[in-house]
Structure formats: C-alpha cells, structure tokens
Subunit: 343 residues, 2 copies
C-alpha cells in the first residue's frame, strides 16, 4: 500500500521550529513504516522563507540557520519575498505548524496565521498559547466548520499529554474537575526550598542559573503561566468560556522556608495548583499556592515535573504526569497531535 | 447532520456486561449530542439471548435479569435458540463487545468469539484477558486485514488508560520500557501492612473482607495477574512476542511487617512491579516485589491504585495513574475504546 504523503508548512523557526525539523528527520523512517510520509514544503519566518514542493531537506536547513544565516539566504528555495500570505494564497500544503512568538495580549500574529490557514481548509497544529487562551472556541468552531483539525496539545505543557488525555484517555467521560501542577519552574523552586532549605530568593536565583527560570520570572512565579494553561484545558475539555480576568491567581512569591518546614512537619507540601471545577454547571477556576497531603496524587510530583489530575463521572480520577520539558518535548507534542489526527 | 448509528452486540451478561448496559443507557443523550447513536441489537449468554434489531431496551433487560431470570425468558426478543454462531451468520451488527468468562489457558470461548467476529468484518472490543494474552498479534493482524478494529484497553487495568496512553499520549514515540503497579489488590495489601502494621496473612484477610481479594487470591498475590497485564501491554505497545513462560514472576507472599518497616526507615516502599524493558532490541520482562524510593513516580501509588510509567525516546517519562476499579470502570473502558475508534 502506498503511504499517505502529508505536506507540512512551518511558520516560526526558533527553538521549537528547529526541534520539530530535527524530530521530523529523526522519525522519517519510523513514520514511513507506519504509513506516514511527512514532507515539509514551507518554512517561513518574519523575513522571508524557504519553499520546496519536493520537500525541504531539513537537516541541511537546520545546519544552515545554525550558523546565523537567514532562511531567505538558503540556496535551495530560500527567498526574502516568501510571506505567510503568499503561502496561504498558493495553498500547496495540508497542515500548518504555527510556532511564531507568543503574545497573550492580542494573540497575534499567531491568531491571524491560524485563522487564515483554517479558513483555507488547512489543518493547524500550534505551540502558541496566545490565540488559544483568547479565542479557542471561535477557532475550534472554524476548524470544525471546515472539516479540518486544530491541534493544541503543545500549549498546555509540552510532553505532558494533558489535552490528549482529556480527549482519548477520558473519551466518553464528563470531566468534573481539572487540578494540576502546570508550571515546572515554580515546582522546581518549591522543591529546592523544601529539600535544600533555601530562601525563596536564593531558590529562584538557582533556578535561573539552570536556565529553567527566565530573567523576568514574573509569568511563572506569579502564577500566570499556570493560569493560562488551566484556562486552555478548561475551555477545551470542560466547555467553559474563561479568560484571565475570570480567575483568581496567586503565585509563589512571599513563601518562606519556615512555611515549608511547618507544612513538612504535618506531612504536607506546598504546591502551586491550578484548579478548574464544575460547580452547579458553571466552571470556577483559580491558581493558588496550597498545602497538599500524600493522599493527593499531585503530592509526589517533584522537581520540574508537571501533572494533571482529572476527576470524572465514569473513570473516577486519572493522573497524567511527566518530568520532561524543553523545545524537543514541545516538538514531540506537536508531532503527536499530527499523528493522532491523521490516523 | 444525522447521527451515525452503531449497532452493538454484547456477549456475556455478567457484572461487566450489565455495567456496560447501564452505562450505555446513562450516556445515551450525552453521546447523541456528540454525534453517536449506539443501539444494542444482541445480548447473548451461554443459554440463549435477546435480539431486537430496533434496539434492546437495556434498562428493562438489566432489571429483568437482576431478578434471576434468564435472557432467553425475556419477553421482548428473548429466545433459547439464539446462539453466538447464529448472530455471526446473520451479521446485523457493527461491533461486538466480548465479555464472556476469562480463560488464560486456552483463551476460549472468547478467542473463538473474537476470531469469528473479526473474520466477519466486525469490530471487536474485549474485556477478556485470555485470548489477548495468548494470541494478540494474530488477532490484531486479522483485524487489520479486515479493516476493523480490536479494542483491548479493558484487559490491562479497567479505567487505567494504559493501552490508550500508549497509543495516543505517546503517539510517535518508541516505548523503551513499561513499568507498572498493575494489580490493585496486592498494592492494597502492601499498603495495609505499611500503614497498619498488619501481618501478610491478616492484611490478605482484611482485603478479602472488603471484596477486593478473591477467596482464591493466588493469581493476584502470586503476581500472575500483573504478569498477564504486563505481557499484554508489552506485546501491544512494544511489539514483543512474550508469553507467561518467558517471564520471571514473583509475588508478594512471604513478605513480613519487618521487611516493610526496614524499607520505610530508608524512605522506601515495597511495590509489586511489572517491568518490560527493551534491551538491545529484545524485550525482557519480569514481575518482582521490590523497594522503590520517592524519586520513582510509582512510589506515590497508594491503596488499590494502579499506574503505569513509560520511558520513551521523545517524550521522556510518562505516568498514568488511576485509583478506580470494578465493573463500572471496566465498562467505561470498553466504551472508551469504542469512542476512540469510531471518531
């Protein structure tokens, strides 16, 4: 039987885009054996891009841009005139991977990219939290009306299959609550404070030194990254219509080693928990720093691990947990969405 | 848009079959809203069955058999002459739910039921470990050759989405190892010994009193149930060809409260772990009672909980854990396989 060839377009070629390109090379043979031939016809950045209908040599291209050169300078199909709009007009691809920089205020340009591709009848898989946080219902409806799919698994924790579990592991269930440790950076900081007795400031600095926390850590430590992922999960899996304005958000700043030691004496741990819960048909959500005991599955999530605990009507509770994060895992998550949706 | 109507045949109407019938009634409206109309046309037991091409009233039928009456005596379509073979010959159904009693020696009669239905071009979803333990590769190949599906999620831990996670949450990955607490009964016994200081004999008795352990507990405590589920997972997800003869199996008998206390002093817990691991391309599997520390995700699985930890090439490690078991959860798992495969 001849394999199905799927033509892919990549927009955004930063860390995640390059990791995806490398993953597609690495998995080419493996996917081929399973009936899937993936061919990348476009790679687009803000300043031009690369086009090759026969399939771009991704190994070559990643090496090329790693030397600091631009996509538009690439000798096999690179051109400064190649824009997103031109690609959409031509339409000679099946699935768009949207990996441009995230903006959680307007969602653009990712929102524009996703909308344009869906309207053109193309599948979209995105790593971009912004537009999914702001406009999931609208985008999903557009995808459904065009008979294409919108993959968002990467937006809620990289390799953690939080969306995938909600769709497939819990197929048939009503999800009653979603409770998660959704931000690895804050979990890592809390663990350092617990295990090594560090102050909050020193634990944050140590986490920044590992590269896990950003130089401006406010989105992580303030609970906003957790809130963003929680809202996406809740809107996608519990059919809610929440925005960041609807949700109480408390971060981990201000916690002291004494707080943590006092909790430990009672057999408890501080965790930054995002929770969305159906109460009388309405979903209420919050992000809070709280103590939990060992009877909660989330108690055992250590280091930079992430986990989601679902309460459901017919499966009881389900935990999914993963300790992996980084661009390679984000890329794996994007590929997962593709495979699950073309099966 | 008109809903897709899927005609179901149930064979076996014990605890799991009745739980499935009740679940189908409970979820009828919910599934209808999502485009799925499920209609049960056959319910078959060893002595006759019920047939109604318009769809059997399952609420009524469950009430009827709950009073101790036979399927064949049911006034709306019950007949002693209705056999599995007759149903296969007629073929007026789409998907068979195979829920007859399990036999792990020969796999029959379930193996015969599954093979016959697949050969007739029908989808099969089974709760039956026997034939899947013995003949998974052969049955899967038959299903693929007929273009139908074989759902086996229920055979490896009820609500625990161990197979589902391997297929969907880890889509695109090579699974390098599968490590799990796959038997809730033994985990419950070990927990009782740890938390209440009971001897093995007393903990077993207490577990039997709750109904969680059977009067002949040898399959659970001897590690054979764990081994069976591990082999199914490994054969289905790691492409191995293992049988019970290929695997070292050690149970929990003989463990003393002192063993458990000594481990606890070192911050460790005894767990009955089934592990299958790819070593130089070959899968090696074993079931062993071992101590693990809190750095292992499985450490936190308490009570009658079950969990599987996957190591993979592109997602790092993934844990799925669930604490639910019983016929209702087995039924939910069967329904999950149906929904995921008809999407």
């Amino acid at each position: 039987m001849k394999n199905k060839v799927i033509k892919l377009a990549l927009i955004g070629f930063g860390n995640v885009g390059r990791a995806l390109a490398k993953l597609l090379v690495r998995k080419k043979k493996w996917l081929g054996k399973r009936g899937l031939d993936l061919s990348v016809t476009y790679v687009i950045s803000r300043k031009g891009g690369v086009y090759d209908l026969e399939g771009i040599d991704l190994d070559n291209l990643v090496s090329f841009v790693s030397t600091g050169q631009r996509l538009s300078e690439y000798s096999h199909g690179g051109t400064p005139d190649l824009s997103f709009d031109l690609m959409i007009k031509r339409g000679d691809f099946d699935t768009l991977f949207e990996m441009s920089p995230t903006d959680t205020e307007t969602g653009d340009p990712a929102r524009y990219h996703i909308t344009s591709a869906l309207e053109r009848g193309k599948n979209v898989i995105t790593a971009n939290k912004g537009p999914i946080l702001l406009k999931y219902a609208e985008l999903k409806e557009l995808a459904d009306s065009k008979g294409v799919f919108l993959g968002i698994g990467c937006t809620t924790g990289g390799s953690l299959p939080s969306i995938t579990a909600g769709i497939y592991d819990l197929a048939g269930a009503e999800i009653l609550s979603i409770e998660g440790i959704l931000n690895g950076t804050t979990n890592y900081i809390l663990n350092l404070m617990e295990n090594e007795g560090l102050s909050y400031e020193n634990a944050l600095k140590a986490t920044q030194d590992t590269g896990l926390a950003e130089s401006d850590p406010s989105k992580d430590v303030g609970g906003w990254d957790t809130a963003t992922k929680l809202i996406i999960l809740s809107n996608a899996l519990m059919n809610s219509d929440l925005s960041l304005d609807d949700i109480q958000v408390k971060g981990i700043q201000g916690i002291t080693p004494k707080d943590i030691q006092d909790a430990a004496k009672k057999g408890k741990r501080y965790k930054l928990i995002g929770k969305a819960e159906k109460i009388k048909g309405t979903v209420k959500a919050s992000v809070t720093l709280q103590t939990i005991g060992s009877d909660n599955f989330l108690f055992g999530i250590e280091g930079s691990g992430k986990a989601v605990l679902y309460q459901t009507d017919i499966f009881g509770e389900l935990l999914v947990a993963s300790s992996a994060s980084g661009p390679g895992y984000a890329a794996a998550s994007l590929l997962r969405d593709l495979i699950n949706n073309v099966k």
